[in-house]
Structure formats: C-alpha cells, structure tokens
Amino acid sequence: MVIDAGNTAWMIMATALVLLMTPGLALFYGGMVSAKSVLNMMMLNFGAIGVVAVAWSLWGYSLTFGPTWAGGIFGDPSTYFGLNGVSDAESLGAATGVPFLVMVAFQATFAIITVALVSGAVADRTRFGPWLVFVVLWLTFVYAAVAHAVWGGGFASADGAIADALSTPIDFAGGTVVHINAGAAALALALVLGPRLGFGRVAFKPHNMPFVLMGSALLWFGWFGFNAGSEFAADATAGRAFLNTLIAPAAAMLAWCLVERIRDGKPTSLGAASGIVGGLVAITPAAAAVDTFGALATGVVAGTLCALAVTLKYRWRYDDSLDVVGVHLVGGMVGTLMIGFFAHLDEGTTWAPDGALNGLLYGGDLTQLVSQAVVAFLALAVSFTGTAIIAQLLKVTIGFRVSSEVERNSIDIAEHGEAAYEEA
C-alpha cells in the first residue's frame, strides 16, 4: 500500500477530534448533574478513555476487526493482539492509503465515546471501580460484537446475511454501532441499577448549564472528525458528511426549542444543547448517504422526536438520568430509519457500501427501509440483552451502586475524596 499523505493527515486530525468528544461529553453530562456528583460523572467518562484505549490496543481492535471468528460474532482476538508488526496492506484504510495504526486509533476513539455515552443513564449513583469493570466487559462482549457485525465484515456488512437477503444496511459513522448500541445499553443499565432517590418527585436540575452548552459545542466540533473522518479520506464525500454534520444538528436544535416553546412555554438552553446532540446522533449513520434536504429533514425529525421522547422515562418509570435513551437510542433509530426514506446515492457527493439502495423518496422501494429496520432492532436487542446480563452480574457480585447515605450526601467525596467546588 502506498501511503496517501493528505488522507493520512486528515485521519490523524479526525482521530484527535473524535477523542475530544469524550471530555466534551464529560462537560455535557457533568453540567447536567448536581454540584455534589459532577466529579464522579466526569470520571465515569475519563475512566472510559483510560480503560478502552488500553484494552483496544491489546485485544479490542482485533476482537472487532480481526478475521471472522467464533461463528462470525467476533474478529479473531489473537490476529492483531498487541498491534505489533502489522501490515498496512491490511489497514481499514488500505483503499485510501491510510496506515493500519492510524485506523486503529481512529476506531479506538469510537469505542471510547460509545461506552462513555452509556454512563449518563446512571448518573449520581454509580461506583467508579465497578464502572471500570463494566467498561472492560461491555467493550469486549457488546461493543466488539455490534461493531464487528456492521463494520468488521459481520452479518450487517456488505458481505453479510442482511445484504444477501435484502440490501446492505447503511451505517456510515455509527448510528447503530455507537448510538443505538449506547442507548439500548443505557436503558438496560438504568433498569438494573434502579432510579435515583427521589426520582419522579424531585426536579433534578442541571447545576451548571454553561458546562452543558460548552460540552455540546465540543461534541459538535469533535463530531466533524467522527462523521467526515468516517470517509477514511479527504474527498468530496467527506465534504458531504461535513456539511450534513453542520446543518442537521442546527435544524434539530431549532426543532427541539420549538417543541419546548409549545409544550413548556419556554425554549431552554438545555433543550438547545440536547437538540444539537440529537441532530448529531441522527445524522451519524446518514451523513454520507443523504443530500442537503435529507440532512435537514433528519435534523427536524430527530429534534422533535427526541424532545418528546425524553419525557417517557417519567411515564414508564425508568431513570435514564441524562436522557441517553431519549437522545441516543431514539436519535440513532431516527437516523437509521430516515435513511430508508432519504438515501440519495446518485446525488454525486453521497456514498454508501456496495449493495445499498436509494430510499423511498428517491425512487427506491421499501427494501432499504426494511434493511435499516432489521439492523436497528437487532443492534437494540443484542445490546440490551448483553448489557443487562453484564450489569446484573456485577450488581450481584461486586455491587454497582453507592449506598443511599452516600447518594444523599456526596458521591464525589465518598468515591473520589474531592468536591468540585471547595470553599477556598
């Protein structure tokens, strides 16, 4: 393989952008919790960076992208274990001249943000040590399996069973692998850990909205690397993904604020920040597959449905504390399914894997929509079940949740020996 300097430079930059999303997420989540649990919240995210980056370099990458193994569920963990002596000819970016290890690092940042996203569902009550154990197990058994299925040559890839039976499902940058996966895991984890003390009675208001807004801005900034980087090249399709990543969240933010204005009387800054993230989530799988109108429509639908979905937790009594289900599961489903309507693969700048078809509004039939739905619900089911098993196992062995005394007083002091805002 001949290394392409331009593409490689862009992928190194994109990797750094995606890594920045996780500290951005820490701010986004940290501002939403109370002043006495903000450090614990941010540490759940930073802890995920530590654990996933290490595990990814040893077995994580190989288990996800190695040659198909274990009946097609995983990649072979021994092939690239430790990542020494790898050949650039086997790089995920071989076709665009990007070296093996750059692609390993790029994919590591996706695994990091995915598991970090889950933590928002269990804010204010999660012990740090068991969370780190959860991260190792979840990366190994859930993330690796879902990512292998979609991107590693598994059943949802261009060579897989869904492509043979219907058409190739489109997940450009991680609507299923990252967002449906994280959202379904968040739902399972919230159910296993149980609600916060006072859930449904007390208003859990954000302690620092400027943190939340800055966090959403950093997420957006990093997301340009996430989506435009998923082209693995600096070309016109990266430009399409880049533009769609700008306009879909903008439309979603406006839609979310409009829903709040009508439903609650006032558009909130939390709604604006959440709308941006909901739009980013929804455009992720579709970033290179839809045209400008498709991106705007995806943003509007995601902003509206996510804003409505975040109230379901009160009706159905699951304490998804920071709305990971409402934003990532719902947004991921919206984006994945909207492709079935808006996929416009002959627009010129768009791109999709071999065997994918145009959506209903661009001359396609129902095939692509059904294919999208199949992969979306499969990812949901696999992630929910796998997460519930891992979480329940940890709950009955080492324990997952702090005592009610710690939850009432301060999880930051009990778990980390610090308070975010010391009086000097």
């Binding site: 009675r201 007390v202 208003a203 208001k205 709040e260 439903r263 609650d264 009387g265 909130t268 939390l270 709604g271 804003a307 409505l308 975040v310 109230t311 009160y314």
Partner: protein, 112 residues
C-alpha cells in the same frame, strides 16, 4: 431593644434597605432563605416534566433597633417590600435582653 426580622421577596432587598436607612437604621444583616407560607409551593415544568417547588426562595433581614424605633422600621419595611401579591413575606418584632458590640465591649443601646 428589639430585633426586627423580615422575610421578603429577594427582588425587594434594595428598596427595603434604602427605606430603613431613611428612618435611621445603622446596620442590617441579610441572608438567603427558603420557605413557604400560606401560598405553599407551586408547580413548574422543566424538560416536559412537572414538579413541585415546596420551598420558595426568600431573603431574610435582621435589624436591631431601639424600642422607640421598632414601629417605624417595621412600617418602612412593609411599605418598601409590598407588591400586593401572594408571597410578599412577613415582618416580626421580638424583645432583646442585651446587645454587645464586639470591637469596643459596649452594651445595651450604646451598642446599636
């Protein structure tokens, strides 16, 4: 001597401070408070969820005065803090046995 304590709407603090100063009060202690009276709490909506706010934010003023000034100070507070809406607060007066000024050690009316 008397201690005048007032629980008022936070947004009336400046007006009240000016009003008591105008009737000769030399010092005021102000603190944040939260509570409810006959208005009870109220419901608010945030992110589509309704919840009750049981304790409403208030400001608490404490003023030590001579017996003779208590009525004037009370009236000044009431007229300056009044908006006529529910939740305007209360003012009460209690007798004080002794007051000492820490810096000089003076007692009684001299310490006011």
């Amino acid at each position: 001597m008397k201690l005048v304590t007032a629980i008022i709407q936070p947004h009336r603090v400046d007006e009240v401070r000016a009003a008591v100063e105008a009737v000769g009060v030399k010092g005021v202690t102000v603190s944040e408070a939260a509570g409810y009276g006959r208005q009870k709490g109220h419901t608010e909506v945030y992110r589509g969820a309704e919840y009750t706010v049981d304790l409403v934010p208030k400001t608490r003023l404490e003023i030590l005065v001579d017996d003779a000034d208590a009525a004037a100070v009370t009236d000044a507070i009431v007229s300056a803090a009044q908006t006529g809406k529910i939740g305007d607060g209360k003012v009460w007066v209690v007798p004080v046995d002794d007051v000492a000024r820490v810096r000089t050690g003076e007692h009684g009316a001299d310490a006011l």
